[in-house]
Amino acid sequence: MKQDFENDEWMKGVRETGFTTPAHYFDELSESINARISAEKFKAVIQNDGHTVPDNYFEKLQANILAKTIAEPVAKPKVVRLWNSSLLKYATAACFLLVTGLGLYFNQRNPVQQTASTDLATDQMLYDIDEQVIIDHISSADIIQPKSTAADTDLENYILTNYSQSELATSL
């Protein structure tokens, strides 16, 4: 009885040391130990993985990596100073001439183009009308000769009374 009491007191002391474990620690501990034992057993028989590399591979690997890193020349971007370049002056002059030239050319060309395009449209319109339709239209049209307000004899008399023979001869 006394011994049980002492044991409980000792256990109480142990419990009160302040140490804790993660949740479910003791449930997983046995599994962890078994897995470790199995892994140790593997290790006792299989120390390495059996993979190999070609001869002097790591020396070549280092050289290859260095060639792609340290030895790789850093490509510096080429800076072209646009505003100080004489190329810009020539390019500006060429653009100015080109724009002016094109402006003048199209200005002169426009009226000609317009007339030409109007004529072309008329021609096209006539071309589109059937030829027989035009012939029928002309033949059926009531073409009226302008009526003379004065008779031919009246005109003759007027001329003969107002103009002399010599004046008529010079005019004809």
Partner: protein
């Protein structure tokens, strides 16, 4: 040969005059570890060769912006791990295959490889590993072959220590079962 400290490498790299020397030191220290880490994941030597070069080109380009609150080697391992996962995902997409088919393909590569001289048990262990999901395989490799601590693997993979332990135990159990089915006991 005495291994140079990461802090010394970083210090030298920060100085343009000693930058090349620092990178040489870094290569001497890590290129083999990173090569094997990649090789165990992609199996084929030529693929591993391409990837390890890509990793160190990335390291060279980004080391200047590396924040020293992380450890240098876990940072390099993380780059290598990402490269491996990207490579395996691309392989799956390119061939329009499932994980199982990729595992079969890698297993065939392993058997046909002229750079694998393992015995029967080593071959079976590799084949058992190839039946695992990529992440379990990755964790097993880092714990078993690279002998990294869970805390280090956690920093590399961004997975909690508890989840890593569980993953490792499951991987070990699966390997054990695979080996038993192949009549290999330890």
């Amino acid at each position: 040969m005495k291994q140079v400290e990461d802090s010394e490498i970083l210090e030298k790299f920060a100085n343009t005059k000693t930058r090349n020397e620092a990178f040489n030191l870094l290569l001497n220290k890590y290129q083999q570890k990173i090569y094997w880490h990649i090789r165990r994941m992609v199996i084929d030597h030529d693929d591993a060769d391409d990837l390890v070069q890509d990793v160190f080109v990335k390291v060279w380009k980004n080391l200047e912006s590396f924040r020293s609150d992380a450890q240098l080697y876990t940072w390099i391992y993380r780059i290598a791990t990402n490269e491996c996962i990207t490579f395996l995902n691309k392989k799956k997409q390119r061939n329009n295959t499932s994980l199982d088919e990729v595992s079969d393909e890698l297993s065939e590569t392993l058997v046909a490889s002229s750079y694998f001289n393992g015995d029967k048990i080593q071959l079976k262990l590799q084949q058992a590993l190839l039946t695992l999901p990529e992440k379990q395989r990755l964790i097993f490799n880092m714990k078993y072959f690279d002998e990294l601590k869970y805390e280090e693997i956690s920093e590399i993979t961004g997975t909690s220590v508890g989840a890593l332990k569980a993953s490792f135990h499951i991987a070990v159990k699966k390997i054990e079962t695979f080996m038993l089915n192949e009549d290999i006991t330890f």
